[in-house]
Amino acid sequence: MCRIGAIKSLNYVHPCQALKLMQSQQKGHDNSGFAMVMHDLGGIFEAYKDMPTLSMACTDEGVKIAEDILHEAGFQRVMQWVPETSDQPGLDIIAMPNYVFETFDYPRQYRNADQKAKEDLLVDMRLILRKALEKDELGFVYSFWPDVITLKEIGDPRDIGTYFNLWEPDKNFTARVITAQCRQNTNYDIVRYAAHPFFLQGYTALANGENTFYLKNVEFQRKLHRGYIGFESDSQCFLYSLHYVHHELGWPLSYFKHVITPLPFEDIEHREDKEQLLAIRQSLAHLEINGPNTIIGVLPDNTMFTCCDAKKLRPVVVGRTEDTVVISSEVCGINEILPDRDWETDIYPHEREVVAIDNNLEVQRWRQ
């Protein structure tokens, strides 16, 4: 089984917190990988919040190909950070030769372009890079987006932490939002892309569960957006549905829940917004999910949320202090990094609610 966790704080947090959050739950996952997405970056990235950062793991050849493509397209590198790795013998990690975190300035013709044009460009570039590096596994392009960094690796999370020196907090590599997960996708082939969290155009999603409407979701999503690709994991569908509802349709986040776990017809019948709910249920029937699931998501504005499937068969808890909110599959993870919090304020979301945390750490509970 899978465990997921997320931290959102008013202060910049080092990924060692995410490692600790997940490490305490290690009995519940199989220690087969570590993956995280960081939003709202601090440290050396803080000065570049408006410029896209490329997160990628690749071979030497892969680095060259990717950089050539980006330069060709007019992107100019403004910053590069290569994590120092300590390749000690005996570490359980199947590392790629290079980990690249490079920040670029937009091509000249895009500097004054509107937000949408820029967003489209970034997605297209990432898709081009991904495709170019696919052959012979020259590299894996996880994200190319302003203020976002992604790291995914196969191996024991503890050793991955050691390899990247992530156990030691420092001020250079931090973020206000970190989502993390410690398991490779064991249902399907082990591929780096299959590890949550998944990222697209500012949206991040990760899930603990099994989406038995996977096939229905995939068959529908393939045609909805060029960025809905891969599908290496059934949980990718959550990201794409989130992106579709919030970004493509432009609906408020609360409707994501109505799409993935629509209310039973009996309940809809008695609602004032019956007409809208039915229309959603009809037109987006193939985005409904089924099976036990808990989802954590992050929106482009760094709002973080969690919700469950309608029969609530996977656990999740939200714990908080003045300056930090943590979402975790198991409460022991929260105990580890927020030991002094008032645990009586912990929230155990139910099957019909969305718990959302805004940038002031205000926690909202929306009932579906």
Binding site: F213, P264, Q276, A279, S283, N290, P292
Partner: protein, 547 residues
């Protein structure tokens, strides 16, 4: 001795032979009275009896005239194997026996000079049905626990009506972050995924039709199952049109337009909208053929409802005046949509055919979003009357065709926009829940069924040529006849009860299929839940092959 006449029809030329045991027969006459086909008659036989009266054997013979029951030997009143005689005989003295040496298909054509007509279903038995080579093979356990059929709630509903592509939904975000409707949307009804198929009030006896309507109302009002019944071509009794029960009826219009003048006249008096309109283009059991109601069945009330004299009523094979799919969309659909002020979904029913996918593609791409359902009818369905050659030899099986249509929709990202409803021999083995569930997992939103409803009512026909006399107006159990005495054999309340009970059983069985795959709403298109034990079926339907 008479010259032998080889051409004379004898029981051995007919599909069924009567087995009669004179020693058990008390000559009560029940069988002769009960046989609606007049296939048996009382006759007198000359019998020779040898006897001896003295102390020593002294054989003598005596001739006497003995009354017996005999099979009628002609191609008009031939035995259909319905078994009613056997049912009514108090002494087990009589019953039909299948005759494997029958020459019926040949002699009937030779003597009649006309094509053979009958009702019922296809009688060319094929091997195991495709659906029986498919299993629900993805069982939820461990990480994805199965549900509990008794404890959990399930959403067993299917859409009827045109569904908008998500980006075309006229929804805008209101001031409080709530979605608001900014324009009209096509009407969609969420109904039970099994529609009681279109059987007309002329094809069925008034008692049978009423029984079905009664069962439908009961299922809705007392059992909470929103089951809909389709009227079939030929209209609806005015009383029903003006009643609130109209909301459970899908009104059908077919190429003969029978009954529509009455429906239109009743429109100003309707207190409820009908559940939908179904435009019938074709029928799976006799594709390319229009409806056929023999004069024998055109009783007075049928004449009134349809507004016709007593005559053979033939619907043309085509809707006259429709030359293209676009035209059918624009002309018929728009006029019906307009007639009910766009409040009632309008769907189309076609016979499954090698070309179904193109028809479906045309409809699903129509920019007006008005076709509210694609009813696809396969070869194994039944009919009130048709030419035998059509029944047995034309048509297309439903399973792969439905799947093809669904996958065509998937390829365009339009799945679900025109709900797919499938029929044609579903529930043939008596188990409709399983068949329907498999069809749903293959991509159907729901199914419709007609023949099985007759079976529930007590139809004795089957796919091996038993009875299948629905065209004659002599249905021995009062289902497809307008003859008073025959109709009275049918107890409508009992029929309604059977239908209701069957639906309740089926509802439980649906849940028993949903629970193990762990789904609480219908798994439309979830072909990953199915496996096939037949490689070619698996390949064709894109399922996992298992052995």
């Amino acid at each position: 001795m008479e010259t032998m006449r080889v051409q004379n029809v004898t029981p051995n030329d007919l599909p069924w032979k009567i087995k009669y045991d004179a020693s058990r027969c008390t000559l009560c006459g029940s069988c002769v009275a009960a046989c609606s086909f007049r296939a048996i008659e009382a006759k007198v036989e000359r019998r020779r009896m040898v006897f001896s009266e003295g102390d020593f054997p002294e054989p003598k013979q005596r001739f006497s005239a003995v009354p017996v029951i005999r099979q009628v030997k002609n191609i008009k009143n031939y035995c259909r194997g319905c078994g009613i005689c056997e049912k009514v005989c108090p002494n087990d003295a009589i019953g039909p026996e299948r005759n494997p040496d029958t020459r019926h298909p040949i002699i009937t054509r030779c003597l009649g000079g006309d094509s053979i007509k009958r009702g019922g279903r296809k009688n060319l038995e094929s091997a195991t049905r495709t659906l029986d080579k498919i299993r629900v093979g993805r069982i939820s356990q461990m990480t994805d626990p199965s549900l509990d059929a008794q404890r959990h709630t399930f959403d067993l509903l299917a859409p009827f009506g045109r569904i908008m592509p998500p980006k075309k939904l006229p929804l805008g975000v209101g001031p409080e972050g709530l979605l608001q409707t900014e324009a009209n949307m096509p009407p969609v009804r969420w109904i039970y995924p099994v529609i009681i198929g279109d059987m007309s009030i002329g094809a069925l006896s008034w008692r049978m039709w009423e029984a079905v309507a009664m069962a439908t109302a009961y299922l809705n009002e007392e059992c909470g199952l929103p089951v809909r019944m389709c009227s079939g071509e030929g209209g609806v009794p005015v009383r029903l049109l003006k009643s609130r029960y109209l909301k459970y009826m899908i009104l059908q219009i077919a190429s003969g337009h029978f009954g529509w003048n009455r429906i239109i006249k009743a429109m100003p008096h309707m207190v409820e909208d009908p559940a939908g309109i179904l435009i019938k283009i074709g029928q799976g059991a006799k594709p390319g053929d229009g409806g056929l109601l023999m004069a024998q069945k055109v009783a007075e009330h049928i004449q009134a409802i349809r507004g016709v004299p007593k005559a053979d009523l033939l619907s043309p094979p085509n809707h006259q005046g429709l030359y293209s799919i676009e035209e059918s969309v624009q002309k018929m659909f728009l006029s019906f949509n307009a007639a009910f002020k766009f409040r009632v979904p309008v769907a189309i029913k076609v016979a499954a055919s090698a070309t179904s996918v193109s028809v479906f593609n045309n409809l699903v791409r129509d920019p007006y979003n008005i076709v509210g359902g694609f009813f696809l009818d396969g070869i194994d369905g039944g009919t009130g009357a048709a030419h035998e050659v059509s029944l047995d030899h034309t048509g297309h099986p439903i399973v792969s065709k439905l799947r093809d249509c669904y996958l065509a929709a998937v390829a365009q990202g339009r799945q679900g926009q025109i709900p797919l409803w499938a029929a044609g021999g579903l529930g043939k083995t008596g188990d409709l829940a399983a068949d329907a569930f498999k069809m749903i997992a293959l991509g159907a939103n729901g199914v419709f069924t007609g023949k099985l409803i007759l079976q529930m009512a007590g139809c004795v026909g089957n796919d091996q040529g038993r009875c299948n006399a629905c065209n004659t107006g002599l249905c021995p159990v009062g289902i497809t006849t307008q003859e008073g005495p025959l109709v009275h054999r049918l107890d409508p309340e009992k029929v309604a009860q059977n239908i209701v009970n069957y639906f309740l059983a089926m509802d439980t069985e649906f849940k028993k299929l949903m629970a193990p795959i762990g789904n609480s709403s219908l798994p439309v298109g979830r072909s990953d839940a199915l496996v096939s034990t037949d490689q070619s079926v698996a390949d064709k339907l894109q399922l996992q092959y298992v052995c």
